[in-house]
Amino acid sequence: MNMYKYDEIDQQIVNERVAQYRDQTRRFLAGELTDEEFRPLRLQNGLYIQRHAPMLRIAVPYGMLSSTQLHKLADIVEKYDKDYGHFSTRQNLQLNWPKLEDVPNILEELATVEMHAIQTSGNCIRNITTDQFAGVAPDEVVDPRAMAEVMRQWSTFHPEFALLPRKFKIAVSGTKEDRAIVQAHDIGLEFYKDTNNKIAIKVWVGGGLGRTPILGSVIREHLEGQHALTYCEAIIRVYNLHGRRDNAYKARIKILVKALGIEEFKRQVEAEWAHLKDAPNTITEAELTRVSQYFDNMPYADLSANDAGFDAAIASKPAFAAWAKRCVHPHKKAGYRALTLSLKPHGKAPGDATSAQMHLVAHLAENYSFGELRVSHEQNLILADVKLSDLSTVWEQARAAGLATPNIGLLTDIICCPGGDFCSLANAKSIPIAEAIQMQFDNLDYLHDIGEIELNISGCMNACGHHHVGHIGILGVDKDGSEWYQVSIGGKQGNDASIGSVIGPSFSAEEMPTVVQKLVDVYLQERTDEERFIDTVRRLGVAPFKAHVYAKNEVVA
C-alpha cells in the first residue's frame, strides 16, 4: 500500500492528544472549564455542539484512507452513532450523533488506526486537501501527497498559529488541471517542475468562499519547494498579527489581503520571509525523500492497454457502459483505472455512507485497489488503482450496495452540506433540496443527455457546500424565520474558476426542482453541440436563464 505510515513519533503525538482531550473533557464535565473555555478546545478536536447532538469531524488527511481505517470508521459509526457517517467537502468524515462523553473513546479507537480529529475545526490550520486522483492522474506533474504530509505534520499543533483570527484552509495541487480548487483557499499551493526540473510552487493567497466569496491572488509565481513551510509561516504570521479579530465575518485572510491590496500584503510577507528563509523549518531533501517513499508507485502489473472482458461487458451491458462512462477515470498506468463510487444515489443525503457500505468499500479496496482509497471534495469515494479487467466485478458489487449510480459529474452528483437538518449554523435545510432535485432528474438517459453540470448546495453563507463555484449554486437563506433559496449560475472550480452570479429573488423549497428544471431547459434549447451547461452560461450570460425562470405562465418552446 502506498500511504503514509506512522512511526513512533507520529503515534506518540496522537496518543498524547487522546490523553490531553480526555482530560479536557473530564475538566469540562467537572465544571473546571466554562463553555467558553472548552469551546476552542473541543472545536480544535472537531467537536461541534449541534442541533440534536454534538457533531464530530474526523480528519482524513488529504483524503487518503486505508481499508483498515475505513473498517474502523465503519465500526465507529455503528458503535457510537446511528450506523452512518457523512463525507464532507473537506474530504473528512462527520458523525452526526456522537455523545460528548464518548468522544475521548472514539479518539482512542481512531488512534489505533493512525487517525485523529486534530484541527478539523476551530481557528487554526485545518486539514490540508488535494486532488482525489493524486498519484494516478495522467496529467499529474508533481504528486502532491508527500508535501501534503510534510505540511500536515508542520501544521499539527503549530504553537504560533494555535489560535488564529479565523479558520485557515490550505489546498495543494500538482496537476495541469486543478481539481483541488486552490484558488478558493486561504493558501493554495500549485506544485510544478521549474526549468531546473526541481519542484517549485505557485502560491495563491486570500481565496475563500463563505459570506464574501473571493478567488485567491497569486503572491508568488515561483517558490522553491523546500521553502513551502517557512513561506507559509510568513503569510500566516502577517495574518495572525493583522487579521481582523474584532468581527468574525471579516476575520478571514481574504479580507486582510483585500484591505491591504495584494502588493502591500506581499511586501509584508516577503519582509517577514526574509527573516524566515532557510530557517530550520526548511524542508530537507532527506525528509522529503523519507516521506515520498510512502507514496511510491503501487506494485502495478504490466498490463495491456485493453481488456477483452471489459470491452465485452461494455458491449453487452448498457448499465455497465453508462457507469463506466461517468464513474471510471483515466490512469497513468496502462490497464488500470481510477473509479468513483457515488455517494449520491437519487433521493438520499449526498455524502452519507452506512457502516455496511463502508465495510464493502473497504473490502473492494482490499481486493481490487491495493487496500487504499480516497475521499473526494465532491463527497464521493475513489478506488484509485483498479485493473480494467476487474471493473465489471467491482461494479456488480458496488451496484448491489447502492454505490454505483452513474452520475459522477452530472446534475445529481450534488455537493451538499449537512444543512439545517443537522447544523446549528444553517439558515435552511439543504439535504431535502438535493433529494428533491435528484428525484426531478431521476431518468438516467435524460441525466446523461444534460451532461456535465455541477450543482452545489449550502445551507448558509458559510458555504460548506461550495455553492459559489457550482455551475448552479443554491444558498439557503432565512427570511423572517422561513427558509428560502437563492440561486446563482456560472460558478466554476478548476483553473478557470469563477464565482457564480445570483439570478434574482429567492425561491421556496417546493419551487426548487422546477427552477433547476427551467435552467436546464434554457440550456438544452440554447446549447451548441460542444457546449456544457457552464459554457452556455458563460456565452449567453445570466439574462436568458433569469428571464425564463421568472417568466409568468410561459410555455416552454
Binding site: 513519533i9 503549530h158 504553537p159 498559529f161 479579530r245 468581527n247 530537507t284
Partner: protein, 210 residues
C-alpha cells in the same frame, strides 16, 4: 498562594515551579472611551495598532517611587526620561498588550536586554497574537530575559506559550496554578521547530521510512 509559574532551567528535574512574583504591574487609569460595538455586540478584540490609550491616561498613571515595576508600553515610551535611572538599575520591565506593536518598543528602547522582564498581557485567551509576539521578541529581537504571559492565561494554552518563547505564566486568579503546570508537558516530541527548539522533528531524530 502565588499564581506564577516559572519555567525551570533545563538542568533541573521538574519542568517548572510556582514562584513568588517580584514585580508590580503599573496600571493605566481607567479609560473614558466607551466600549466599541459592532452590530450591537461589544467588540472583544482590539485591532492591531489601534490606539486605545489617551495622553491624559498616560500622564496620570501613577508610577510607584520604588521597587520593580512593569510599565505599560505607552507610558514607558512617553515617560522614558523619567524612568531612565531606574531602567539603568534594572527595575523596569514593559507591559505589552496583544494589539500593540513591538516595533514601537524597539524604537524607544534599542537594547531590549536592558529590560529584565517583558510581560505580554492577553485579555482573552483565544487571542493567538500573543504567540507571534513571543516568537518575534525571541527570534527577531533577540530578547533573552524573562518573558511573561499574564491576563487570561490558562492551562490549555501553556504548551503553546512555552513553545513561543514565554518562560513565566501568571495563571488567571480563579484557577489552580499547580494544576496548570501539567499543561506545559502535553506533548513530548512536537513536529515543527519553534522558539524553544528551532529544529523540526526531522532535524532532531533520525526518522526512517518503515
Amino acid at each position: 498562594m502565588s499564581q506564577l509559574i516559572t519555567l525551570n532551567a533545563q538542568t533541573e528535574n521538574s519542568i517548572a515551579s510556582i514562584t513568588e512574583n517580584a514585580w508590580t504591574y503599573v496600571k493605566l487609569p481607567a479609560s473614558q472611551i466607551e466600549e466599541r460595538k459592532q452590530a450591537g455586540k461589544v467588540v472583544l478584540f482590539k485591532l492591531t495598532g489601534e490606539n486605545t490609550v489617551s495622553e491624559v491616561q498616560i500622564a496620570s498613571t501613577i508610577i510607584p517611587a520604588t521597587g520593580n515595576i512593569i510599565v505599560p508600553l505607552t507610558v514607558f515610551i512617553a515617560r522614558k526620561s523619567e524612568l531612565q535611572s531606574r531602567i539603568n538599575l534594572g527595575e523596569v520591565g514593559v507591559w505589552i498588550d496583544t494589539h500593540e506593536i513591538i516595533d514601537h518598543l524597539v524604537e524607544a528602547q534599542a537594547d531590549l536586554n536592558e529590560l529584565p522582564i517583558i510581560a505580554v498581557h492577553v485579555e482573552r485567551f483565544a487571542d493567538g497574537r500573543i504567540f507571534s509576539l513571543g516568537t518575534l521578541l525571541r527570534t527577531r529581537y533577540g530578547y533573552k530575559n524573562e518573558l511573561r504571559a499574564f491576563g487570561d492565561v490558562l492551562r490549555d494554552q501553556l504548551f503553546f506559550l512555552k513553545r513561543s518563547g514565554f518562560n513565566s505564566y501568571l495563571i488567571r486568579a480563579d484557577r489552580d496554578a499547580k494544576d496548570a503546570i501539567a499543561g506545559l508537558q502535553d506533548f513530548t516530541k512536537p513536529y515543527q521547530g519553534a522558539v524553544d527548539d528551532p529544529r523540526p522533528v526531522f532535524q532532531r531524530y533520525n526518522r526512517v521510512a518503515s
